[in-house]
Symmetry: C2
Subunit: 220 residues, 2 copies
DNA sequence: GTTTATTTTTAGGTATGACTAAAATATATT
DNA sequence: AATATATTTTAGTCATACCTAAAAATAAAC
């Protein structure tokens, strides 16, 4: 069954709310996530149910079917592969991705996806460190770890932050730390938990324990 | 003024029909090109006229305004840059492009376009040998030439054909001649106009005068 | 210059995907 | 258990982008 871009957006939302939860998804939750009104959500739930993508009983919430989960993973795969392309090849930044991948995730051609995957070297994680489903919907474990937990001599790639405040992001910018940067732990100070990093094989940077706890990385 | 994807498709159609013609474009022509009905075209012409993209007088045909031309060239630029990406980077073939570029041409972000252009090495021609407008809408001259007109020792890239019959395309396939192939003219026979080519620096291939007249190339 | 044929427009309708306001249902509170 | 509150659905509307059928305008034939 083929879905419109709007239907894909809703299905993706239902799936993503569902993964970290036992029970069903509520209409209001979905409306908040998708920035629409509850009445619009109800309309769409009927369509998705008719297409066999979700299980929906009036007033009782919603969850994805097996077919819906498969489709949601496919959309997610498309999105994340484009995100890898945008970051790795076009050098776009974290905050420049959302709008573009919201559009590109709906460009669906099996051949294109297969070639893009090959071209990118079959990446297993998106630029945020989240796993990319393969053609069968299978994903690797997420090795995301705060750099505070890295040992001396370990290296990794910056994939995200726990703190999105502009003061923190501004500090990171000043310190030369950005999404995608390669880091190597040169030293850890027992006394205060501070660390010395080597960024992109050239810049040395000291960071406090507080900062290190708020930067996430993928270990190589 | 911002356009919807449908409006962009119509504008592109009006512009492309207009370039190789003095007079105005007719409703029926556009309907045929866009595979819609004349009544739908009329609806859209009103919208595009209101948005200042075209000059439209009832029953009198339509032409693009200065603003419309600028927008049409921008859409064309987006499309052709994506086409270069699909062919050069993802190795898609001629006939696999249309559907994808029809969708990708509407993904419009100045930053994305700028980065894509840079990433592709600021290409001046699309995979078919047609010029790509730059950010200002300016284009290079099209150096498309039948390989029959190449001299011995000249080399170029195959960019199209004059004959789309399946018998011809089948022959080309058998002869190892495809869109994007690099060719070098090894010999030309005065007697019958036949040629010997070197394809991709490895394969030697004889072709008749008739075949050579129907293959288009870009000279390096 | 009428008549005929073709082109183009209008009128009115459908499907999608939004919305507001009101009704229905479910959940909390006392 | 009754009432109040919050959630969800329905009813009805709107814009976009299509469509068919009929009317209007233009172009071609006689
Ligand atoms: Mn989307
Ligand atoms: Mn298009
Ligand atoms: Mn109408
Ligand atoms: Mn309704």
């Amino acid at each position: 069954m083929n879905l419109t871009p709007a239907e894909e957006n809703y299905l993706k939302g239902i799936y993503s709310l569902g993964v970290s939860r036992n029970g069903d998804i509520s209409t209001n939750e979905l409306a908040a996530l998708l920035q629409t009104k509850p009445a619009s959500v109800t309309d769409m739930l009927k369509k998705l149910a008719k297409k066999g993508m979700i299980t929906y009983v009036k007033y009782q919430g919603v969850s994805v079917t097996t077919a819906g989960k498969k489709k949601a993973l496919e959309i997610t795969r498309r999105r994340k592969l484009w995100e890898v392309f945008l970051v790795e090849k076009l050098r776009l930044q974290w905050d420049e991705l959302t709008e573009l991948s919201d559009a590109l995730e709906h460009v669906s051609s099996p051949l294109l996806l297969q070639r893009l995957d090959e071209y990118l070297g079959y990446p297993k994680f998106d630029p945020f460190g989240d796993p990319i489903p393969n053609e069968h919907g299978e994903m690797s474990e997420n090795p995301r770890v705060a750099i505070l937990d890295l040992s001396v001599e370990q290296s990794g790639k910056i994939i995200g932050v726990n703190d999105n405040s502009s003061s923190f992001l501004k500090y990171l910018d000043k310190a030369g730390i950005y999404i995608g940067a390669k880091i190597l732990v040169l030293d850890k100070v027992d006394f205060d938990g501070s660390m010395e990093l080597l960024i992109d094989n050239k810049r040395r940077q000291f960071i406090s324990k507080e900062v290190a706890a708020n930067i996430l990385s993928m270990v190589y």
